[in-house]
Structures are given as structure tokens and as C-alpha cells.
């Protein structure tokens, strides 16, 4: 126990201030002022890997590390879409995941914000569209914000999330 406490004290708080929203990432604007007012201080996110290579998942997981410390911003990843304000979707949408993704989206309460993460989520990426891949997330459910990158770093993903809940221009 002593070692644990000593390490905690030794490391201290390493959290860095987040960069803000980035309007360049917005795909679709809907009720932004109201969304910012309601969700701006406590946002619940459900993440769905719709068929990614798992690279984007690694960077999304990093949002929970002490440096990005996303929970300190009032943002939390939740286990059920029924508790979620925002859906974070990665991957080209595998056709085997199309139904699960649609059902997850349907299970969310309004306003059903969606952020597509990664080149594949934005455009289908290197996988494109074929018998097994429906391509970009926007082909399956409506997307509000798209964050390109392969994979995009945690700071970019966070900017995408903050854009989705910011009042906009």
C-alpha cells in the first residue's frame, strides 16, 4: 500500500488541458445551441466498432488515460446505447455489423449525435465498399461529425467529440 501511495504522490496530476472544438470536422448541424446547453457538461458516449482494424479503438481508449483524462471533462463511456447521448463509430461498416449498428442507433435517445472516427469511418478508407463492407458510417446512419486519420490521435478524436456538443458557428 505504501508503494502505491508513494507512486501516486510521485506522479501527481499529469492531465493536460484539452484543445477545443473544430468546426472543420462538422458534417451536419442540428439544434447545436440546445445540445450544448443540455449536454455540454455531462456527455455519455457509446462506442461501436462497426468493423475497424482496431487501430482507432486503441486511440479512443487513450482518451481515458491520465493525460487526456476525458472523465474530468464530464465525458464518460457507457455500456448501453440507452444511456448514450453520442455514438462514436469506427471502421468501414462491415455488412455483418450493419444491423447491430442500426439497432444501437435506434436504441439511443434523441438527439442521437454520431461521430465517425478514422479514415474508414469517414470514407470507407482502404477497405472501401464490397460484398462485406458497406463503407463509410454515413452510408448506414446519419453522421454529425467526422474525424479523419489512420488512426486519428486522441486529441483529434476529442476535438471531434467536443465539436458535436459545441454551439457551433
Amino acid at each position: 500500500m505504501y508503494k502505491t501511495l508513494r507512486q501516486i504522490r510521485h506522479i501527481g496530476i499529469v492531465t493536460e488541458p484539452p484543445r477545443g472544438a473544430d468546426e472543420e470536422l462538422r458534417v451536419r448541424a442540428a439544434l447545436q445551441a440546445r445540445i450544448a446547453e443540455v449536454l455540454g457538461r455531462a456527455l455519455c458516449i457509446r462506442e461501436v466498432d462497426a468493423g475497424s482494424c482496431n487501430g482507432c479503438e486503441l486511440e479512443i481508449q487513450a482518451l481515458n488515460n491520465p493525460l487526456y483524462n476525458i472523465e474530468a471533462l464530464g465525458i464518460r463511456f457507457v455500456a448501453s446505447p440507452r444511456h448514450a447521448d453520442l455514438l462514436l463509430v469506427t471502421g468501414p461498416v462491415a455488412r455483418n455489423m450493419e444491423l447491430a449498428l442500426k439497432r444501437t442507433y435506434q436504441a439511443m435517445p434523441d438527439p442521437k449525435l454520431v461521430v465517425a472516427v478514422g479514415d474508414c469511418g469517414c470514407s470507407g478508407g482502404i477497405f472501401g465498399e464490397n460484398y462485406a463492407s458497406a463503407g463509410r458510417v454515413g452510408n448506414v446512419i446519419p453522421v454529425d461529425v467526422a474525424v479523419p486519420g489512420c488512426p486519428p490521435g486522441p486529441a483529434r478524436i476529442l476535438a471531434g467529440i467536443l465539436t458535436a456538443i459545441s454551439p457551433g458557428r
Binding site: C53, A94, R95, L99, A100, L101, I126
Partner: protein, 516 residues
Amino acid sequence: MSPSTATPLVRWLTVATPLAGAPGARRAAVSPAQWRDAMRELAAAEFRLLALWTSTTPAAAVHAVLASGDNLLQLDLALPAGTTGYADIADIFPAAARMQRAAADLTGIAADARDRRPWVRHAAWPADYLPLAASAGVPAGEQTVADDYPFVRVTGDGVHEIPVGPVHAGIIEPGHFRFSVVGEKVLRLEQRLGYAHKGIEQRFTSLPLLEGHRLAARVSGDSAVAFSWAYVQALEGMADCRPPARALWLRALALECERIANHLGDLGALGNDAGFAFGLSQFSRLKEQWLRALEPVFAQRYLLDYVVPGGVARDAAGGALDALARCAGDIAREARLVRSIYDEHAGVRDRFVGTGIVKPQLARQLGMAGLAARASGQAHDLRVDAPTEPYAALGVQVVCEQDGDVAARVAVRFGELDESVRLVARIAAELPSGDHRGEVVAPAAGTSGLGAIEGWRGPVLLALTSGSGGSIARCHPHDPSWQNWPLLEHAVIGNIVPDFPLINKSFNLSYSGQDL
């Protein structure tokens, strides 16, 4: 035919001819009549099945790669014209079962196995659409309905099922787990995978040979270096091109950096799944520190575009390498401190020790691979068994444990973390001078090669055949998760449901890498 240990080695290895790519790789043609005998003999000689796949061009064929010591043997079974069936080998190599099912979905070439349920095909495209058949176009009609997969039912007093997935509670890949439980105790787990199947093998055939490494890197993003290296290893062998020594050393540097990043991530997540959030805080901080240290050297946090045909995408400056080695040393020191805390923490030990056991005998029987196998006494590591340059010079120390539980898989990760940190320092200090990239000219049509690289999870294999005009005729990437997913089903038997996330994380298998 009597299985002896000497005969098969003589018989199959002497008739085998060299195969381009991985060091020591050889291939031998077998007839349908010899197929099962060959498998039986090689199994008796302690060969392990590393991969099985089928191809349709130029003619229908089944391929398998088996390994033992420094022997890497590919068997090619050409099917008689007009036939699409071959003999099941899952009774000899249990790991073949799912590979045979997936192969049948993709090419229609099917083993005469008892379990012929589709594996990667769910309901999204019709059964008569064969994605890798020569004539495959676009499937007729789309369906997005749920199909009714026939899970094996467990019956009895008080038995009930818990379905989990494909969308999981955490930030992880999609897959379905069906638990049959009594109270809290798991009687049986059956996995259903294939949700992340995105047509990778078909997509390869529309890419130029000299660009396939980019897709290979994205088979499983956490193993990008291993897959892209396996791809270019096959390609460079086929093209008879030898990359400069500096390039090979830089690839090894990248591979060890990838191993360190993944082990740091897993060691934190394992602490967290044992209810010790302190572990996650420490290791996720160290992992972030490590990924940031990679950027000045590789210009990326995850090395998806570093390994390229002929070498690596960019050279590394001496100063940046020294800084990377220093950072690795600092991280190893901190990791050892947290390890001592894990080792002394009663709650963590209670969750780790004796949980999710795979005994060495079962690991051997079922052909377990890689890191998880090394935690169950199977000391196989391609970096030592069949070392690619520069690994023979680096002298990797294999980390092996015998207990086969979560604690053993944690211990292997700690040991390998230290070893990789040592390798990073050694490479940084002894990196040969010269170019970081050479020329590669696409080989002639119909050339085949095999890449084999020990990624952080285990042996990554990639079989490549060139088409005409610098195209890809067939590319089959193979992740060790194929072998280990069925072992996870065994490891969880008799454990309580709440221990499943911990056991699952201790394997940390790739969905994308096996779904393709």
C-alpha cells in the same frame, strides 16, 4: 502407415522445395490421397498447424503451413478438376476447424467435416456468392436480417444462456459470446465471430503488389508492423530483392516498439479488470509516454505506414534513437515498480492466480500459439526458432511460464516487455549504417512467397501469390488469434462469469485479424 518421428521429416522435408520469403520456408505438393497421411505424420513429428486457406486461381487448391523448430513447411493440395472437396483434418489439428469453415465461405472449397456451419458469412450475402471465386462479381440482392446461428445448446437443471455482443460494453471489437451457465459458473462458452469481416482477402486482389503492405498493416491495427513486415518479406523473397541491413534492423526496432506498446496497454487493462484501477492509470500513462516517444522516430504513434517494400518509410537519426532507448529504459524501470505492486497486492493476486487456466498439455493438443502459448509452457517464438535478420544477431531470450493462468500471461508480458526494451537499446546502439530503403521490382506472375513474423500476439503469417502486371492473385494473412480463440473457450470453463473479462483480456485476441 506407421507414424514414426524420423520418417515424416525425411519424407516431406526432403521432397519440399524452397519457398520465397521467410527464412527456411519450404513447400511440398501433396495429392488428395496423401493429404491426411501427411498431416498425421507431421503431427506425430510435433509440427503445429500455423494456417490453412484455399485458393481458386489458377486452379482449386488447399494450402496449409506447419511449423516445428526451424522448419516452416507449406503443403499444397491441388484438387482434381471439377472437385471442391477435401478431407477434414480437424481431428488431427483441431485449430483447422474454423479455418476450414472460413475457407468454405470464401471459395466454396470445403472439407468433409462434421461442423459445416458458415463462419465468416452471416446473412449479409447469399450462400452461393463466393467472394474469392474467380468469377465473383457483386452478390445479388442485399440482406440485413439477423440469421439464426445454431449454437450448441447445453441443457439440464438450472442451465441458462447469457448472450453477449456483437456490440460489447467496452471500447473493443465486435464479436458474440454465448455462455451456458449454472449460477455464476460457466459450463460452456461458444464464440461466434466474423462480425468485422470486411472482405480483406478480396480487396487484396484489387491492389497492386507494391501497395499490398498498406492493407496488410490494417488487417489488425495493433499488429501493423508484424503484418506489413510479413507481407514485404514474402514480396521481397518473390522479387529476389534483399533490403539493406539498416532497413531490417529498423523493422526489428519497429516490431519491438509495437510489442512494448501493446504489452503496456494490456498490463494496465489487466490490472483494471482485476479491480485495481491504479494499474490502468500507471500503464496507460506509460503507454501514452511511449507512443509520444515513437513520433520523433517514426512520425506516427501507431506504425501503420512504416514498413514498405524494400525497407522502411523513413530513416532514424541517432539522437532520436538514443532518446527512444532512454525512454524505453525509464518505462521499464517504472513497469518493474508497478509489477512489484501487482505481485504484493493480495486482491490482484487473488484474481490473477488460478484463473482461466490452459494447461501445457491442452495448449499442445490444440495448437495454441504465441504469447498465450508461452504462458502455457510452449516455448515457441519465431524470433528464436526461425529468426529473420537481424534476430539471430540480437539473440532474443524467450519468456515462458508453465501455469497457464492469467498470472502466467501477465508474467510473460512483463518478461517480454523487459526483453523488448533491451532489444530497443541494442538496436539503437548497433544500428548498421547505409540506406533505409532499396528497390523492389514486382515479380513475374504466378510467383509465391510466405512471410512469417513473430508479432506481439504470436506468429503472423502471410501467403502471397503474384498475378500478371504487378497485381496480387491471392493474399492470405493469418493472425495467431485463429489458434487461440478456441483456447479461450476452454480457459473459461469452470470459472465464474465475472472473471471472463479478465481471462479474455489476458489473451487479448484480435477480432479483425481473424474475421478479415
